[in-house]
């Protein structure tokens, strides 16, 4: 049986690049957040592929913990966006300069 692990890894690289390009070019903070989720998904795909290629469950557990961190990140991140929207009336990432000096 032929395994197509290289194809899965190539797909993961393509998705990661799409997510990264979106994260640096879009201005809407929620879209940037979704691009980060695409990048996390690409990394998850690579983890699962490596885990399967090496006959190990470690890849699957890494993905489970990535999902837990992504869920916590979603909760806190969206709360921060709502807070910023209340303060500024926009969630354009280029207008966030609170921590800039």
């Amino acid at each position: 049986m032929v395994a197509y692990h290289n194809l899965y890894l190539a797909l993961s690289v393509v998705l990661f690049t799409i997510g990264a390009i979106g994260a640096i070019t879009r201005r809407n903070a929620i879209v940037v957040f979704m691009c980060i989720e695409i990048m996390l998904g690409a990394v998850n795909l690579a983890f699962i592929t490596f885990g399967r290629a090496n006959q190990s469950v470690d890849g699957i557990f890494m993905v489970m913990f990535v999902m837990a961190v992504a869920a916590a990140e979603a909760a806190v991140g969206l709360a921060i966006f709502i807070l910023m929207y209340r303060k500024r009336g926009t969630i354009n990432v280029e207008s966030f300069n609170l921590m800039k000096w």
Binding site: N6, V57, I60, L78, F81
Partner: protein, 168 residues
């Protein structure tokens, strides 16, 4: 057969991900994101990670995207206006494309060389995917598992405190 499904679902994942970053309307982005997560779940099924495929649909396509869509509905967003990209962003995109080529060469050009572990497909088929996973989860991975629960609790409390309206 695996190749056909892989090519179809992989292509659809790439197309839907591109639509996420190119859609002008944020709600459309979010809905394309849900589609992308579903196609990725099919890829996990192809890699024989059934549990992760289910988690992908429940946690990502269900919980996280619901969060995002609620946030979009609470924020009155206008459509993003088209503006010329700054020079720094163009440099960033070029750097990312170089990184893409490098990753592609390393990921695809070289084989996966490592010592094979004990968890073969036969073992998974004999005991069942979840049974094998839970054996590892509650022995080797019990500390990260508990830490993840603490992290999620802290995340929920933090989100409530951040988003709570001050009553003055």
């Amino acid at each position: 057969m695996e190749l056909i499904i892989l090519l179809i679902c992989g292509g659809l994942t790439i197309i839907t991900s591109l639509l996420v970053i190119f859609a002008r309307n944020t709600v459309h982005s979010a809905l394309w994101m849900v589609a992308s997560f579903f196609f990725m779940a099919v890829l996990y099924l192809l890699l024989q990670a059934e549990f992760i495929a289910i988690l992908q649909i429940i946690v990502y396509a269900g919980a996280i995207m619901m969060f995002i869509i609620y946030a979009i509905m609470m924020l009155n967003l206008r459509q993003e206006e088209r503006a010329p990209m700054r020079k720094t962003k163009v440099v960033g995109v070029v750097a990312l494309l170089v990184l893409f080529l490098e990753l592609l060469v390393v990921a695809v050009g070289r084989g996966l060389l490592a010592i094979k572990g004990p968890v073969t497909d036969q073992l998974m088929a004999k005991f069942g995917h979840i049974a094998v996973l839970s054996n590892f989860l509650f022995s080797d991975y019990v500390l990260p598992f508990e830490l993840a629960s603490i992290l999620l609790t802290a995340g929920v409390v933090g989100a409530v405190i951040l988003a709570k309206q001050k009553s003055e």
